[in-house]
Amino acid sequence: MNWKFSNAAELLGRIGESGLGYAEWLIARDAFNAGIEAEAVRAEIGRRMMISRNAIEQGVASPKRSFSGLTEGAAFKVASSPLPPPVADRFFGLAITYALAVNEVNACGGRVVAFPTAGSSGIVPGVLWAWRDAREPGLNAESKRLQDAFVAASAIGVLIAQRATLAGAAGGCQAECGSAGAMAAAGLAVLEGMDFADAIDAAALSLKNSLGLACDPVAGLVEVPCVKRNAFLAANAITAVTLARAGVRSAIPFDEVVGAMKAIGDAMPAALKETAEGGLAATPTGRAWKERIL
């Protein structure tokens, strides 16, 4: 079997030739490259899903405060707010709460799964676990259906990493939270019953809307704007799937959006690529926080 692909079109071609489902093919590829059984890959995916779930529970249970003081329990605040949210749907509210929760746990030195990075680790688990809780509470980390959604999300990360980057230092925040938003869109799309090719198109819709995002963290810490951005990109992914589910297609194919992301990242000045020299980090308040913390 040929396990190589360099873009989404080739990946879909390889999966089609194999006669396997997308998740089976991708898991078999991981197993082949690592020299282990496919079952071991599935077991490890399940283990990592549970670690992401535990981070959600922790972040929602009590206000998380970071060493710097920049992170102050936003997930707990949203989860325990007595006011009705403007969007009453339970899935939407849980998704943004969970995305915050994971990233606050990360900011406070808790245990998370980088997905694709630590600073963007709340977006995919936030959206997918929220969907489970609101729509299919019977599913768990061993359910193939839920695992396959994490596989679809991971596959989008592989496609982006191969042709662009997932590192804020190389491509700005579009490469971290932007990529995670696209990954979450693909995972949510398959949970909503869309096929993998359409899930990739939903990922393109989400990724287009986060192109150009700067990585300008205050004091160089993975807190502001990272934590709250996890919630916003979760909402971005949900919007993308709402459109895709209704048959709205991305005018630019996924592979070309990834190319555009790479070009924009290359053109971005160093001050906006995780150096904490520009953008929010360079505001009077951002500088004052830096003075106080470091």
Binding site: R29, G109, A118, A167
Partner: protein, 231 residues
């Protein structure tokens, strides 16, 4: 080191203690490998933070991460957060030093670890290259390019004929598949360094067997960064 294909578990991972995959998880992994290369416990250690680590090491917990790795704690282990207390309780002498005038060839996220036990000294320079992934770029003064994904053996030998064949024969006899083999001449007289990456876990008898090959001066075992296995 050969280029490895990116898989699902490279994207959904690593499992780690926050907040930064490159400044926390990567640093812990490099320090973990440095302890393994040293052969375990040490009397004193010095950690030098270069590049962006020199300015953000406190906020990103790079100090805790480095100490954790030196104690043999992996990036995903919750004990990472208490590593400084654990080190204090064990009475370990670990010095942390930010360095602001790094050589230009150093990667922007570089950490250097110096370990000492009696006469034995180990110096490892590693780069944290993103997403928790690492490259060991120098071990005891020898240039390397290892990512800790596979088990590796560094064989320092006299630059004479037959040594590489001798090493390969022993690895074959032990049943190892060689994933990559690179040879570097060094500036230390007529010595050369052979870097071998193998599939599987290196058995404890392999190092003395290699050390017995005619012309071999020293053998350093570099275990995989996960502490065994490739996941």
């Amino acid at each position: 080191m050969s280029e490895r294909a990116l898989g699902l578990l490279d994207i959904f991972g690593p499992v780690m203690i926050g907040p930064s995959s490159s400044h926390t998880a990567g640093v812990a992994r490099i320090a973990f490998l440095a302890r393994k290369i040293h052969g375990g416990p040490f009397d004193r250690a010095r950690v030098l933070f270069h590049g962006s680590l020199a300015s953000t090491w406190k906020g990103h917990g790079s100090d805790k991460a480095a100490i954790a790795g030196l104690l043999g704690i992996l990036p995903e282990d919750a004990r990472l957060g208490f590593a400084p207390e654990l080190a204090k309780r064990e009475g370990l002498n670990i010095e942390l030093v930010p360095v602001f005038d790094s050589p230009e060839r150093y990667h922007p996220n570089t950490v250097v670890l110096e370990l000492e036990s009696g006469e034995r000294r180990t110096r490892v320079r590693g780069a944290s290259v993103g997403g928790g992934k690492v490259r060991l770029q120098s071990i005891n003064g020898f240039k390397t390019e290892l990512d800790g994904a596979l088990e590796a053996l560094l064989v320092l030998h006299q630059d004479t004929r037959g040594v590489i064949a001798g090493v390969a024969a022993i690895l074959a006899a032990w049943g190892f598949n060689i994933a990559s083999m690179t040879s570097h001449r060094t500036d230390k007289g007529d010595l050369a360094l052979l870097v071998v990456e193998v599939d599987g876990i290196v058995a404890s008898g392999v190092v003395p067997a290699l050390a017995g090959v005619q012309g071999v001066k020293d053998v350093v075992y570099v275990p995989s960064a996960s502490g065994g296995g490739r996941l």
